[in-house]
Amino acid sequence: MGIFSSDRELYDIMGTFMQGASTHPEMGPKIRDSHIVIRFEYSDPEATITVDAKNPDNDKYFRVLFGPSDLKADVVMTMSADIAHRFWLGKVNLTAALTRGQMKAVGPISQIMKLLPAIKPAYSIYPEHLKSLGRADLIL
């Protein structure tokens, strides 16, 4: 079994992390400025999280949707939930993951690349998020 036992657990942990990012003063504006819809499709367990930076809520930099969505995605990232978890902890070499197929990215490369500056702050935020949820056991 992977790190997450169910999609519910994934949403409770990784989903709420992304919701937290939607109000984070460093990550939030960078993702908002991408003006794209990015869909994360996870396996083991199967889950979908959509980040909508085209139609932000009033009090958030972007929207985060759990589960299937009709929203047309500009970029679709596909990976196992374990890889995603390790990635947000800064334990996955993005270049290697993309070239080895551990992560697949479909969409305009220009838009994918623009997201990179937004990712780095997550490496310190995600472990703190896990701790705040009482799940420090998931920090690798």
């Binding site: 270049t95 993951a97 080895r100 990215a105 690349m113 990179l116 780095k120």
Partner: protein
């Protein structure tokens, strides 16, 4: 006058033109040079052929010869002219006037295929002319011509003067070389540079300011139909590669953001691990502000070159690559896209390596801020990180050989020695470490320490393999390497050096265009071009032979194990950033590497090692 239509059939049918143009500047004579057939078989092309030629020309005095008295050599590889993306590669080589050991630098563009279509695999230039000359090669003849009209011009103007509106492919040196800058580059058609190890200085010191070539023959390859299939396969791979797309979209600076995430980017003269300003000079920052066009080498769909236009400027200009953005941007703490375009343009026009120039200036600023260099040494110029005007003034001083620039034009190591702080120079074998921090990727640390030309990120495929951009399943490499550890690195470095010696240094492939490819693509292309049935072990053996031969040149020129080192700043832990507190175990990796490579304790390849690589004959007098 030499017979320009002469072909040597044996080599011509093996993917080579079969002859080399020999130029003696002292006597102003031109002749054909026919290299031994076994050199082509055992050393393939590029620097492999160049190192053999160097040893042939200086069998007895290699240890003591002044670099400027040695030959300057240009060589192509067997794939130049095939139209396969990334294969129009030219290497320049000789004894480096900057490092005093083996010097080499390569570039793309179109000169290699042009030279092939002039009927030459390379050019060997000897002697020295008291008057400035340029070399012109076309079907109308080959001539050494007066170059007085080039003397007071910058690189771009020299290209314009020699190219006849683009009909000729050009190589020129710039005013920096004439003004004593030891890391002067060779500029090809304004957009491509043999930047490293000061071969532009070597060229200018011979009185040769430029070469202009216009081809007229179609290169002949053994299996053209198979080559066409391989060419289509490689183009297809590139079209689906995320890395190739990123290179096309944002140039080599596409690596800035990922590099920052991984701790690969050096900041503030190697002393900081993070800097918010870096994201202001990433690939998208250039593409969204000054980029007007993507440039490319002949036949390459990747198109990683940048053509930029600054606000208010009349003309476009070549844009900076990642190494320049890091050397003058993150290293000097300048996060201004337009300024980086300007400083890149100025360095290009003077004809000097932006890595060495930027790193030397970053060191000078650091020493100034710490009170080692004082205002009286700078002519009153206050140096500070992020201070664009003073940095630009230093660039001009270097290019013109004025003021403190005269010292900075001799590089970081000389600067540090002059001020009594030699350990502050971030160099290996006197060559500045390029813009990839070995504290993030320890294998690169070992690759730098043992590189045959001094610190180098392109003489092997170590960087691409360790960072994950390339994967060669047939080379007995792991699929993934963790960056900041020594685990498995000595073996990985040896293999990736051997493969890189063929891939890049033998002038076969651009390391960027080759990143999405695997060893099968490379070997298939080589086999089809040469008619040889090469396999992985053949290619690695050739690479090992080339690496060892260049290593021996360094040994003969005085390099020993103590020179296989990383500079102190790269072994000093950072306080912040992705790799805070982490430094490579260079001594541990080096011991294992020596064992794998078959090197003696003083750094020389053992007799058994030389024997098994077929090099005993070449080096018999030195062992």
């Amino acid at each position: 006058m030499i017979d320009i239509f002469l072909r040597k059939v044996e080599h011509n049918t093996l993917g080579y033109a079969g002859k080399v143009l020999s130029v003696d500047l002292s006597s102003k004579t031109l002749s054909h040079l026919f290299l031994p057939e076994e050199w082509y078989e055992e050393f393939l092309g590029g620097t492999g052929l160049a190192v053999c030629q160097l040893l042939k020309e200086h069998p007895a005095d290699l240890a003591e010869i002044n670099p400027v008295d040695g030959p300057l050599m240009f060589f192509t590889g067997p794939l130049a002219g095939t139209g396969i993306p990334g294969t129009d590669r030219l290497v320049a080589a000789g004894i480096s006037p900057y490092t005093s050991i083996w010097g080499e630098s390569s570039c793309g563009g179109r000169f290699a295929s042009t030279l092939k279509s002039c009927g030459f695999d390379g050019i060997v230039i000897r002697g020295r002319s008291t008057e400035s000359l340029y070399l012109e090669i076309s079907k109308d003849g080959i001539s050494l011509l007066p170059a007085a009209h080039l003397v007071d011009r910058d690189c771009y103007e020299r290209v314009d003067a020699l190219s006849s509106g683009g009909k000729f492919s050009t190589l020129v040196t710039g005013p920096a070389a004439s003004n004593g800058v030891l890391y002067s580059s060779i500029c090809h058609d304004k957009a491509h540079f043999c930047g490293r190890t000061g071969l532009g200085f070597l060229m200018a010191s011979k009185g040769l300011l430029g070469i202009a070539a216009r081809g007229w023959m179609e290169p002949v390859h053994r299996e053209p139909e198979r080559l066409a299939q391989i060419r289509a396969r490689i183009r297809e791979k590139l079209s689906h590669s995320l890395l190739a797309q990123a290179l096309g979209e944002f140039g080599t600076n596409s690596s800035m953001d990922i590099g920052l995430m991984l701790g690969d980017v050096p900041i503030r003269n190697w002393r900081m691990g993070e800097w918010a300003g870096a994201s202001n000079i990433n690939g998208p920052a250039f593409s969204e502000s000054v980029l007007v066009k993507r440039g490319t080498c002949r036949s390459c769909p990747v198109a990683c070159k940048r053509v930029v236009k600054l606000p208010g400027a009349e003309h476009t200009q070549p844009g900076p690559e990642y190494e320049t953005c890091a050397a003058f941007g993150t290293m000097c703490l300048v996060d201004d896209v337009e300024w980086l375009c300007t400083v890149n343009d100025i360095c290009n026009r003077y004809g000097m390596d932006t890595i060495s120039a930027g790193c030397t200036i970053a060191l000078a600023i650091d020493l100034f801020e710490r009170g080692v260099i004082k205002a009286e040494h700078t002519g009153g110029l206050a140096l500070a990180f992020g201070h664009k005007d003073s940095i630009l003034r230093l660039v001009h001083q270097i290019g013109r050989g004025e003021g403190l620039g005269r010292l900075l034009g001799r590089g970081s190591r000389t600067l540090a020695e002059e001020y009594g702080v030699p350990d502050e120079a971030v160099c290996v074998k006197r060559l500045e470490v390029p813009m990839h921090d070995p504290r993030a990727f320890h294998g690169m640390g070992l690759a730098y320490a043992t590189s045959v030309r001094g610190a180098c990120h392109v003489s092997g495929v170590t960087l691409a393999v360790e960072q994950g951009g390339s994967y060669y399943p047939g080379l007995s490499l792991r699929e993934v390497y963790e960056g900041p550890t020594a685990d498995g690195k000595p073996e990985m470095v040896a293999i990736t050096q051997d493969f890189g010696m063929v891939l890049g240094s033998a002038a076969i492939f651009c390391e960027l265009a080759a990143m999405p490819l695997d060893e099968t693509d490379i070997i298939d292309a080589l086999s089809a071009a040469t008619g040889r049935n090469l396999d992985v072990e053949d290619v690695l053996s050739i690479g090992r032979r080339i690496w060892l031969a260049k290593r021996m040149v360094g040994y003969i020129r005085g390099m020993r194990r103590q020179d296989d080192r990383l500079p102190v700043p790269c072994l000093t832990p950072l306080d912040d950033g992705p790799n805070a507190g982490n430094v490579p175990d260079i001594d541990g990796m080096l011991s294992e590497f020596y064992s794998i490579r078959g090197l003696l304790p003083d750094g020389r390849p053992s007799n058994d090692t030389l024997e098994s690589s077929g090099l005993m004959g070449l080096f018999a007098r030195y062992i």
